[in-house]
């Protein structure tokens, strides 16, 4: 009998309370009818019966509750819609933000034992250069001496003109030493990867394709192995295809070639261009490897103090090697998402509290009709669950849409394969939070209210209860505070963006079209061959209608930020630790006119500045200010890359490194003064054409002109100077758009929260207001009473929010481009908006309050 009583606990408590006693009685009689062996059979049957009927009874209750919830929610569609939307906004934002963070910062990299993979950088303390790539001789020496790594390879980016497989095209890839693929633990789906043989300078060219390039060029043909294509005019044999989704070191890499060194490569220790990757030996930690590398660097520095004084090595786990800027952007995104989730939960809590109060009567009636507290709790839980699930579903949808948008925030930080997808585990967290909110603020207060039974029946929904009122006010204050934080953060970023946009790039971005023709070597080894190409293209381009000038340069500003050479001024002391450098560009004569870079002094590069003439340099104003402040620079000599040059002209400063960073001074050299096979990387490749007409209409004509000059020459990166400038602020625009969405969502949610609270307060105080009016209070006094309440809430929220916003601004100082985190205008605007929002939110309830009819209210 006792056991049967325990068994009955399988049933829902309400069911047990209702029928338990009778079921016991029936059980007792049936028990008496079975004797001997039948008792065993009877018990087994009973256990089965109770289990199946118990579960079925739970199912019945759930069904009933769901139907009841659906009905009650359908009767309050405004509430249901708002609650679900509010929950969905919070859930969607947080899920999308966390998905991205998980992808960029947390998820293990798709390589074998990714925790043992490290990047290796060189460092030059006390210089602005920060972390540098390795130079070939340093790589050789580090690799020889280091014992912490089971494998240590290097790679360097290449941009290749690919011919022999359809249209000539420009493809990005990397040159790998033979260690890289095995070190990552990735195997080709077809063929093989590089061996030590492939790296020999004398070996024939070999090539490994990415899966996507294999599909694109060869349609996934398995006979592709052994086929020959030309990279920059040199034949390469395809030896392997990597698996789908593999991409290293970044998403852009589409093919890989062996990285080869000639003996001459090992002469210059400051020729930093190799990215080092290594795999730690089992049991070796990053800090152990770091300690060893630091020791080796110190030995190198002692052995070659002239070139390597102060040199150091930095070992950092591949997973952790993410730019601080990316990290900061993601943290800001997550912060904004959490703010929104907080606001959403606070709003939801307020909605539910109001509803719980409004439902006190209903619950009291149900309770009086015999519904036990357990039954009511279950009902309320089901309702919360229903709301949270609907919110979660809609939130998942929002996240699905938002993730690709958010991913544009950190385009280069997603190096590993396909686009991020939403993880259901990630979705679970905000759904759970919403559910907890639902239970804490929906079910619990409703039940408390239900417990009050007769009290609740009697005064129904008249008294709000001071404690709950305070809780609701606190929630609204939290919403306003979070809203201020988001508004200020967005405002600061808007200010930063407009400040950056307002910066003078140093050239005139309008009416100029650019494109890239990367001349392949050794085909264009001869200076004369190059000159012929440039002159054919430029003279034909100048004939086009509307074109006022056309020129070639090594690299356009902002497209290529580096490319700096060593500067030595006669009579100025040399300091290894503070290397003097300037960006070097070979240009054709019309360059400054085509770019709209102002002439300040002297002359530009001329057609007569040939190889035989003294080497000339046109320098930027910043060069003059740095080296010869207040002096006439014309005719002065300096060593640039250890070669004598004479200054013939001065032009305006250009922001080569982009709008957000300081740039080195600039030096422009004559394109004719680079000899055969000399500085091939600096050979002019970017064409800029200034025209008064439609720029895009020029493109077909330019393609024809280039095709006529060299039919095998691919064209890449067709864009206007304005596009390039826009790209500079593209990431910021995306970031701002995202934060803007968060801020406006927060703004409306907070306005809604204020409105909800006051509307409810007014309806609760109808009687009190009626009394006041009956006693002679004027409607303006009532209005004042409501507005005062709203303003106190807003003021409290704004004070807390301002303090938090200041802290948030401090932490994202690096993104602010010099705008103060305490920018008065931004704060004033955010605070003003919040008060305006408060007033807007309180308008309707206040109006309603003034229209209270004392006669009706007091009835």
């Amino acid at each position: 009998m006792h056991f049967y009583g325990l068994l009955l606990h399988v049933y829902p408590a309400s069911f047990r309370a209702e029928y338990g006693e009778e079921m016991r009685a029936i059980f007792a009689r049936a028990r008496e009818e079975n004797r001997g062996f039948h008792v065993v059979v009877f018990w087994v049957a009973t256990v089965f019966e109770v289990l199946s009927n118990g579960l079925a009874a739970h199912w019945d209750v759930l069904n009933q509750d769901l139907r009841y919830s659906a009905r009650t929610l359908a009767r309050a569609p405004g509430f249901a819609f708002t609650a679900v939307t509010v929950a969905a906004l919070g859930i969607g934002g947080a899920t999308a933000a966390y998905t991205l963070i998980d992808y960029v910062l947390i998820r293990p990299l798709p390589f074998t034992e990714p925790n043992r993979l490290v990047n290796i950088w060189e460092t030059v303390p006390s210089s602005h250069l920060g972390e540098l790539e390795l130079s070939p001789p340093n790589y050789r020496d580090y690799r020889k001496a280091a014992t912490s790594f089971s494998s240590f390879g290097v790679f360097a980016g290449v941009a290749a003109n690919l011919t022999g497989a359809g249209e000539p095209q420009r493809v990005l890839g990397d040159a790998f030493t033979s260690e890289i693929f095995p070190l990552l633990g990735v195997h080709p789906v077809l063929g093989r990867v590089f061996s030590a043989e492939d790296l020999k300078d004398s070996a024939l060219g070999t090539l490994v394709l990415s899966y996507s390039l294999w599909q694109e060029l060869f349609g996934g043909d398995r006979d592709v192995l052994g086929r020959k294509v030309e990279i920059d005019g040199i034949p390469h044999t395809i030896i392997g295809v990597m698996p789908a989704g593999f991409s290293f070191p970044d998403r852009d890499a589409e093919l890989w070639v062996p990285l080869r060194f000639a003996p001459i490569d090992f002469t210059d220790r400051t020729n930093w261009y190799l990215h080092g990757v290594a795999r730690l030996k089992p049991g070796i930690s990053v800090s152990q490897a770091q300690a060893e590398m630091t020791g080796i660097a110190a030995r190198l520095a002692r052995a070659d103090p002239k070139e390597l004084a102060n040199i150091g090595a930095h070992v950092v786990r591949l997973r952790d090697d993410i730019s601080p800027r990316t990290r900061l952007l993601l943290e800001a995104l997550m912060g904004a998402a959490l703010c929104l989730l907080l606001i959403a939960c606070a709003n939801l809590a307020n909605l539910l509290l109001a509803r719980a109060l409004a439902r006190r009567g209903e619950l009291a009636i149900r309770s009086a009709l015999g519904a036990g507290p357990e039954r009511l709790a279950r009902q309320m839980l089901t309702e919360s669950l229903l709301l949270s699930l609907a919110g979660g579903l809609l939130g998942g949808l929002i996240a699905y849409v938002a993730v690709p948008l958010f991913a544009r925030l950190v385009p280069n930080a997603l190096p590993w394969g396909e686009a991020p997808s939403i993880d259901t585990r990630v979705l679970a967290f905000p759904v759970l939070l919403t559910l907890i909110t639902g239970i804490a603020f929906g079910a619990v207060p409703a039940l408390r209210a239900g417990h009050g039974s007769e009290d609740a029946l009697r005064d129904n929904a008249r008294s709000g209860g001071g404690r709950r009122e305070r809780l609701r006010s606190a929630l609204v204050i939290a919403e306003i505070a979070a809203c201020v934080v988001l508004l200020v953060s967005s405002g600061l970023l808007i200010r930063a963006l407009s400040r950056i946009r307002g910066r003078d790039p140093g050239f005139r971005p309008d009416h100029a079209l650019t494109l890239r023709t990367m001349l392949p070597f050794p085909k264009y080894d001869k200076a004369e061959t190059r000159r012929t190409f440039y002159n054919r293209v430029l003279s034909s381009a100048r004939q086009l209608p509307g074109v006022t000038s056309a020129a070639y340069t090594s690299f356009l500003p902002m497209v290529m930020r580096g490319g700096v050479w060593h500067v030595e001024i006669p009579g100025r002391p040399q300091d290894v630790a503070h290397q003097e450098s300037a960006s070097a560009r070979f240009v054709t004569p019309d360059y400054f006119v085509a770019m709209g870079i102002p002439f300040l002094m002297g002359r530009g590069i001329q057609e007569s500045d040939t190889r035989e003439k003294p080497w000339v340099a046109v320098v930027s104003q910043s060069f003059v200010d740095h080296y010869w402040p207040g002096e006439n620079p014309l005719g002065r000599r300096f060593k640039f890359n250890f070669l004598d040059h004479v200054v013939v002209g001065v032009v305006g400063n250009v922001r080569v490194r982009g709008l957000e960073r300081a740039s080195e001074p600039q030096v422009y050299l004559s394109y004719q003064q680079a000899g055969d096979a000399e500085w091939s990387w600096y050979a002019p490749k970017d064409l800029v054409v200034r025209s008064s007409g439609n720029l895009l209409a020029l493109v077909p004509a330019l393609r024809r002109i280039i095709h006529d000059a060299d039919p095998e020459q691919p064209i890449a990166d067709v864009q206007t100077l304005n596009d390039i400038l826009e790209d500079e602020t593209g990431a910021r625009t995306v970031q701002l758009r995202i934060l803007g969405i968060f801020a406006s969502a927060a703004f409306f949610l907070a306005a809604f929260g204020i409105h909800g609270l006051l509307a409810f307060a007014v309806s609760q105080r109808t009687q009190e207001i009626g009394v006041r009016m009956a006693l002679g209070a004027r409607s303006s006094a009532i209005l004042g009473m409501i507005l005062k309440r709203a303003l106190i809430l807003a003021a409290a929220g704004v004070v807390i929010g301002t303090a938090l916003a200041f802290a948030a601004g401090q932490s994202m100082r690096a993104l602010l481009a010099g705008v103060s985190p305490a920018d008065a205008l931004t704060f004033a605007a955010a605070v003003g908006l919040c008060f305006a929002m408060t007033l807007a939110g309180s308008l309707l309830p206040a109006r309603r309050a003034t229209r209270v009819d004392p006669v009706i209210a007091l009835r």
């Binding site: 009778e22 079921m23 019966e49 009874a57």
Partner: protein, 120 residues
């Protein structure tokens, strides 16, 4: 919370237990154990409702408005204080009739197909 007078047909077909309980209550109000006994007797012991099945059915039937719990107690000598008595509602009766009609029609169809031995 009973549904607002739905059509009796909307509840068809009835679960067997429900139909049996309605039949057991057709002539008089009964308490749970009496229903079990009546059903067992009516079916010659072929159907023995378990307590769980009985009260789950009763709960649902109350909700659907097929039954009511009655306050009228039977004659004092038969009354058991703790027991709950159930009475069929007019709606319950019409649902039972509708079910019977449905089953009759079904049997008629079966007979036409030669599945049922006997007349016609």
């Amino acid at each position: 919370m009973a549904a607002q007078t739905p059509s009796p047909d909307s509840l068809l077909p009835l679960p067997p237990a429900t139909f049996h309980i309605l039949m057991a209550l057709a002539s008089e109000d009964r308490h749970g154990y009496a229903i079990i006994q009546d059903v067992a007797a009516r079916t010659d012991g072929a159907l023995k409702l378990s307590a769980g099945t009985l009260y789950r059915s009763i709960q649902r039937m109350l909700e659907q408005g097929l039954l009511v719990e009655t306050r009228d107690r039977p004659a004092p000598e038969e009354d058991d204080e703790r027991r709950r008595y159930y009475r069929i509602t007019p709606f319950g009766s019409s649902v039972a009739r509708a079910e019977a009609r449905r089953l009759t029609q079904l049997v008629r169809l079966a007979r036409a197909s030669g599945f049922v031995p006997g007349r016609a």
